[in-house]
Subunit: 171 residues, 3 copies
C-alpha cells in the first residue's frame, strides 16, 4: 500500500492537472501560430462556447462579444472563413500564455481555469513586433471519454484591441 498522506496525493494531483493545462495551452497556441485552424477547433468540445469580448464589456456585465461561437460547427465555419479570407497571409502571430490558475475539478470532471495571454503580430514588411492583444482566458475544461482535455468554454477577455480587424484573428 502507498503510504503517501492524502494531502500530498491531493497536492500532486493538483500539480499534475495544472501541468496538463499548461501543456494544453502551449499546444493551443502552437496550432494558432502555425495557422492550423482545423487542428485548433479540435481542442474544443462539440457543444463548446467561444467568445472574444472586451474587459470593458465584461466589467459592465454585458455578456455579448464581438466574436461568439456556439458549438463546434460554428467554430469550424469560422476557421474556414479566416483561412479563406487569407487574414493569416501577410503576418506572423505568436501567442503566449502565463499566470495560469486552475480550480479543482467538479464531480463530472469539468473544471474552470484562468490564464493571461498575449498575442504578438509581425507584419512581413515591418521589423517590429506589435502587441496585438493582451487579456485573460476564462475557461471551462472538460474531458473526452479517452481522458483528453477539451475546452467546453473559452472566453477571451481582451484589455485592448489594437485594430478592429484583429477580431478576425483567433485568440
Amino acid at each position: 500500500m502507498l503510504d503517501i498522506p492524502n494531502s500530498l496525493d491531493a497536492r500532486i494531483e493538483a500539480l499534475l492537472l495544472r501541468d496538463e493545462v499548461e501543456r494544453f495551452n502551449a499546444e493551443y497556441c502552437a496550432r494558432l501560430d502555425r495557422a492550423d485552424l482545423n487542428a485548433w477547433t479540435e481542442l474544443f468540445t462539440v457543444d463548446c462556447f467561444y467568445l472574444v469580448t472586451s474587459r470593458e464589456n465584461r466589467d459592465a456585465g454585458m455578456p455579448v462579444g464581438l466574436v461568439d461561437c456556439e458549438g463546434i460547427g460554428m467554430m469550424r465555419d469560422r476557421a474556414f472563413a479566416i483561412l479563406k479570407t487569407s487574414m493569416f497571409g501577410p503576418r506572423y502571430l505568436r501567442h503566449m500564455v502565463s499566470n495560469l490558475r486552475v480550480d479543482p475539478p467538479k464531480p463530472n470532471g469539468d473544471f474552470s481555469a484562468r490564464a493571461n495571454y498575449m498575442v504578438f503580430e509581425v507584419l512581413y514588411d515591418r521589423p517590429d513586433a506589435r502587441i496585438l492583444q493582451i487579456g485573460e482566458y476564462h475557461d471551462i475544461f472538460a474531458r473526452t471519454t479517452d481522458g483528453e482535455l477539451r475546452l467546453r468554454e473559452r472566453r477571451c477577455v481582451y484589455d485592448n484591441l489594437l485594430v478592429p480587424t484583429a477580431l478576425c484573428l483567433p485568440v
Copy 2:
C-alpha cells in the same frame, strides 16, 4: 512504508514549492489587475519590506528605492493613497510573471525566489497596450502559522520606467 528514494522525494517537494509560488504570483497579479489593493496587501507579512527600485540603482549597490514600504501599515497607507488618487481610474493594468527560480527553504521555512515580470498598461482612449515596466522580483517568502505563503520581502527591480507617474502604480 513508502519506497520512493529520498532524492525523488526532494525533487517532488521542490516541484510542489515552485508550483505553490507560481500560483501565489498569479494570484498576486490578479489582485493588482482587478485593482483590489486591500487584498494585495494581505499577501505580505506584518513586518514586510516592499521596494521598487531601478536596475541601475541596484547594480550600483544603492539600496534606496523610489518606493519603499516597511511594514504592513505603510503598505496599507500606500494602497489607500493609490485608490484615493484614482490612479487606477483611466487605465487597465495586466501583470505577467515568468522565469521563476525558487531556492530551497531555510530551517525556519523562509526561502528566496526570483522571477521576471512585465506590466502592461492600456489607457481607455488608446488602442495599443504599452509595456509600462519590465523587471525582476527579488523575494523572500515566509509561511503563516496556517502554512500559507506570504511575502516578507519583495524588491521590484525595474529595467525601465516608461513614465515617472508609473511609480504610483503597484508592481
Copy 3:
C-alpha cells in the same frame, strides 16, 4: 514496494522533466540578462549547435542562419567577441520564456523541446522597453555524466528582427 501505478509514475517523471527544463531556461535567461556570457556557454555541450534564424527561412526549408555556431569553441569565441565589442554596454536585456513543450527522452537520454521566447531591450537613455525579438526555441537537450542538463542544439527561430545589429546579441 511502491504501489503507485506506472502511469502515475510516468506522469510525475514527465512533470519533473518539464520543471527541470523550466528551471534550466530561467537560468539560461538570467545568465544572458546579467551579461555573463562565459557562464552562458557552459550551458551547451562540447559538440553543440547554436543557430539564430528567421521563421521565414525556416518555413522555406533553408537551414542556414545568420548566426551559426558549431561546437563549444565557436560559442566561446562568439561570447568573447560580443563582450569585446561592448554590445552589451549601452542597454539592458530581459529574456522571458513561456509555452514550454517537452518530448519524452530517447534511450540515450536526449530529448527535444520547444518554447516561446521574448527579448526586451532597454536603452539607457530611453524610457521605454522595446520588443527586440520574439520567436521560438527548437532544442535538443542532453545530460552530462553528472546528470546535468545541457543544450546539444538550440535553434532560435525569430518571428521578427527589430534591428540587424540585434543579431550580435545572444538569444
